[in-house]
Symmetry: C2
């Protein structure tokens, strides 16, 4: 099997667990946060820098790479790992989420989705088979089934019909997939309805995927509702396979997800806000352009030991930001990814030592909502 | 003395020479190319990356740092080295060149120059004393006298009067300067008139600066005329002091300058063109956005061993450029600086082995005008 999940330790008080995911491009411990490299690059960073921060796997986007530079070109280059010089784990999404996010630019049928490129307006048609073909061309270690991500809010009937189509599409994806060095994960849906979430999970589990994602969350709903959907879904999923909560990146939601049995997360949040001058710190959010930092010669986060905090002052970072110097986007990206990746590392340690509940409480008490989107 | 030039070896056929410049922030061999960090950062790069490319000294701009973040702020931060996390050599220019480049936004008198900020239009007045005060606040190892850089073309009378004022200003700079850990270099001028170049040099040498720059060149004149001016100036300068040709960065002009006895160079060229997607290579210029590189999976320069060439294909670099990904600006900056810094290293080796003339001929034959701005 291309990808194998090895369960190492379960928390005695929550569903949190530590495991190891084995892929053709190395193994890494879970739970893990996957930095996002939308266009075959984690924005501003070299692969070595991403690796040095502790990432064992990154996510890249099928929709974007299909449009530019084209998945055939990436295949010719020897696949995505080689193209972008990242020899570790890669997961590609199916393009579904991006395509559905295009709103009026797309049209859904049982066959697939017609959409217009956000780059040049050209027309394209994604089917489950096409998404899998593209993902086989890209060559990630883990690829995702093509699903429909229903909007929020969405009525019960739509959510039910949607999950049924997503299940049919999941079968078509399995049928189309034939690369043995890749694992195809299924994506559970079900809107904000616990019974539909359970139904979606149960029906996908029948299809026996090597791993399962939970999609269609963090789409505008309150966090307690998202947690409720996790609680409905996870117990339906097999204990011996990896579970991936898509599109979540705020520190509190990561820990709440871990507590509910999630192994993998991804989100553009830490890297995107960094480029907007926002840093997560142990003393709350820092909006680096603010005048209060003009003569603040202290480190960005007094308790952080990342490259940025070890070498630069808030005053210098503010200067770079005001002067629109590219270096600042790198430095804040490094810091924000470090904060999240280190938090996940500490969460794994806490689970292994069976003190995760205390760790989570301490972390959230300290960082509070200040650090959160 | 804050800065000492040690002559190591002179070429037997040209005026090329290898020396060592000792500064309070380390020593480095000359001739050297100084990467430019206009706003207290070599654009896109960390200081460690710049250092790893072999740079022993960088240049930063008084005019820009005075306006933003302010030289008082940099002084409070502990000086420019600490502010920007660069513990090696720094040279600051005097602001003269930038101010004179503002054109209609500035007014020159014997006292100094009134100008308007390119950022917010606010009025400022630079005198020789003010330039030196700012440079003392910034705290570079080598600072520059405040000079007038006459336009090109410029008539004989203007050039003569200008060099006389530059000489008077040089004296005022010396009088204003009192940091013993900094060396104040004089700047020779004289337009495109060999006799004025000689006169300017002779009069500055009387003032006994610890080093001399040649200013007012590469302002639009043909290269042979620039070389003629170097040939007029350099013999007037003392053998035991460093010579710095300001604002030159094309590979051919660097080698021609070295052959005429220059020890130090700076220019935004390699870093600026990198951000515009242009790479110097042994096979000529590469304009990375061009369609011909879309499926070119070879390295940027087959003979280069920089980080970029070792790890990425032209196709990947083109993809990043088309997608406007920040990483590409870094990767091309690394490559272009590597090419120039390595060329200078090889020039030093050639001088030490008394084969500089052959080295220069081979280099220019091979790279030709293709590599040149």
């Amino acid at each position: 099997m291309a990808v194998r999940y090895e369960l190492i330790k379960e928390c005695s008080q929550t569903k949190a667990r530590v495991g190891r995911l084995h892929t053709p491009h190395g193994s890494f411990e879970t739970p893990i946060f996957m930095p996002v490299g939308t266009q075959a690059t984690v924005k501003t960073m070299t692969p070595e820098e991403v690796r040095d921060l502790g990432a064992g796997i990154i996510l890249s986007n099928t929709y974007h790479l299909y449009l530019r530079p084209g998945s055939d070109l990436v295949r010719e280059a020897g696949g995505l790992h080689r193209f972008m010089n990242w020899p570790h784990g890669i997961l590609t999404d199916s393009g579904g989420y991006q395509v559905f996010s295009l709103g009026p630019l797309r049209k859904i049928t049982e066959d697939g989705v017609e959409f217009k490129s956000h780059i040049d307006g050209s027309k394209h048609f994604f089917t489950p088979e096409k998404s899998i073909q593209i993902q086989m061309d890209l060559g990630a270690d883990i690829i995702m089934a093509f699903d429909e991500c229903p909007p929020y809010p969405c009525d019960y009937d739509y959510a039910k019909k949607s999950l049924e189509m997503t299940t049919r599409w999941a079968k078509r994806c399995q049928k189309a997939h034939n690369r043995e060095d890749q694992a195809l994960f299924g994506i559970t849906q079900g809107g904000m309805y616990a019974d539909l979430r359970r139904e979606s999970a149960a029906r996908l589990v029948e299809l026996d995927f090597p791993g399962y994602a939970i999609g269609g969350l963090s789409v505008g709903e309150p966090k307690p509702l998202m947690y409720e959907m996790l609680e409905a879904t996870v117990p339906e999923l097999p204990r011996e396979k990896a579970r991936y909560l898509m599109g979540i990146g705020s520190p509190d939601a990561l820990l709440e997800g871990v507590a509910r049995g999630i192994d993998m997360f991804d989100c553009v949040l830490p890297t995107r806000v960094a480029r907007n001058g926002l840093a997560f710190t142990t003393h709350g959010k820092v909006v680096i352009r603010n005048a209060q930092y003009a003569r603040d010669f202290e480190r960005l986060d007094p308790e952080c030991d990342c490259y940025t905090c070890n070498n630069y002052s808030r005053a210098y970072l503010r200067h770079l930001y005001k002067a629109e110097e590219i270096l600042v986007y790198r430095l804040l990206t490094i810091h924000n990814l470090h904060i999240l990746l280190k938090m996940m590392k500490k969460a794994r340690e806490a689970i292994l030592e069976d003190r995760f509940v205390q760790f989570k409480r301490d972390f959230l008490d300290k960082y509070g909502q200040e650090m959160v989107n």
